[in-house]
Amino acid sequence: MKRDIMKEVRYGLRNSRFLILFVSILFLAISAPVMNKVFLPMLMKNQLPGITAETLAQMLDMTQLGSMRGYMGDVFEIGTIIIAFTLCGLLAQEIRDDTLVLPLCSGKRFPAIVGSKLLVFGFFLVLTSVIATLINYLYAGVLFSFDVGVGPVLRSGLLLGFHLLFLLSALVFWGAVIRKPIAAGLLTCATVYGTHIAGSLLKIDSYLPSGLFREAQYFSVVPASSILQTLAITIGFVFLLYGLTLLRLQGLEWNER
């Protein structure tokens, strides 16, 4: 297991996966407040000449909280796509390229192989999301004013991170099922957006991973009472997808064209 973890860390470092993901999420964290402070007002003023500062403020949520919610939305909409396509080869490419053949012959087991991928990239995504959310909080606070405490921000960063962990496990699962990186990326986006839509339409968000994201967006001082349950369900989903991935891999044949 130790060497499987080392392998994934090397993969992340040497193929710039960590860098791409960290920079993209950080970019979203910084661009959201800037958009809110500079670009959107400028755009509105150009489009609607003669608009007053008050109407503008009414139309745009020009606060720290507003920018932070904007950032969360960006991570959900754009970040999902970036993560899905940056990491879509994580398992699918390995199956396609037959790079698992020699590890299998030398005694590597699927639980360790897949587990290390989830551990390394899951940990990285949680960490990145906490850091990026904090930076977003600080930057938006500097541009506007600080109106949220740091506690809810940390909590939101964590919840967002666990939502990304769910995304990651879906990515690995689809990779094992269809063995094509791009298709796995697309299906993962569909899964993440799908659960979100289903969750809000049927009002079952708190039973789905998308509930984490919604809660993360509130930055409320006191979290919803159902949040622990949503977290537990999400982790359940992650384990379920992990198990299904293993089951699928166990049934595959290797080194065939």
Binding site: L104, C105, E253
Partner: protein, 304 residues
Amino acid sequence: MIRVTNLHKKFNTYHALKGINMTVKKGEIYGFIGRNGAGKSTTMNILAGLSRPTEGQCIVNGKDVSKLRHPSELAIGYLPEDPKFYAWMTARETLDYLGNSGDNPMTKEAINDILDWVSLNKDADRRVGGYSRGMRQRLGIATALIKDPELLILDEPSSALDPEGRSDVLRLITELKQMGKTILFSTHILSDVERVCDTVGIIVDGRLTMQRPLAKVKREMIVPVYDIVLEEPPNPWLLEALRKHPKISHLSSKETVLSVTTSEPEHFSLELMTFFASHRMEVSSFSRRKPDLEDIFLKEVNGK
């Protein structure tokens, strides 16, 4: 060490293996030959526990391959036809990664020794993505050796290697045999088979058409061939008469050139000459040659 009975493999509609029966005995070197697409790699991949037989039984190292839970249970060394590595790892890291799973972890010294064996020490800290085909092949051979297995299944171990590398591989194979290991390897280089193998198996179109000790092949099948060049093309009835000749076991003809083999070499050339003389055929050349494994192979593959 390996016993294969009635092995079939179908890929969707394509029937790649059509009932292979083969036996590899402990301590022997088995040369597995056959033309492109005959089914060598398919067979070896099944023997390595990576893909499953459609029908039939394969016992490898005492284990039934269709009952495996994990390929590594076979405890063999396997070199795939085209070994795939992580391009972003160095050779040393690759061996460290592959060598340290399961019970016997590999020491740094052991990795160095293996790298020396396959002459990769100089390049051991370069990324495998920058390796040439032959260097990857060497690394593949190294990975097959890391667990010091009793049985090795090597799919074209000498392909893509330079002459030195090829003779290194053959030397390695004979050394391994001296250590008591069993080796099954496929190749297209028949002189390699002649140099090191104890047994040859020829696979044609998904069937094992021949499996014999090399010594026996040499004794029984490597019989002289007479090449006769006639002045003008022979008549069909003349060819027919030759075919019916009691001493002629095989005849092939191409325009004015005839190739004849016999099962009774005694006075055979004399009788052949008499035959042509009595039919008033002018002979412009008459020569005798010893065939090699290649002729046997071609004969086998072309269906006699």
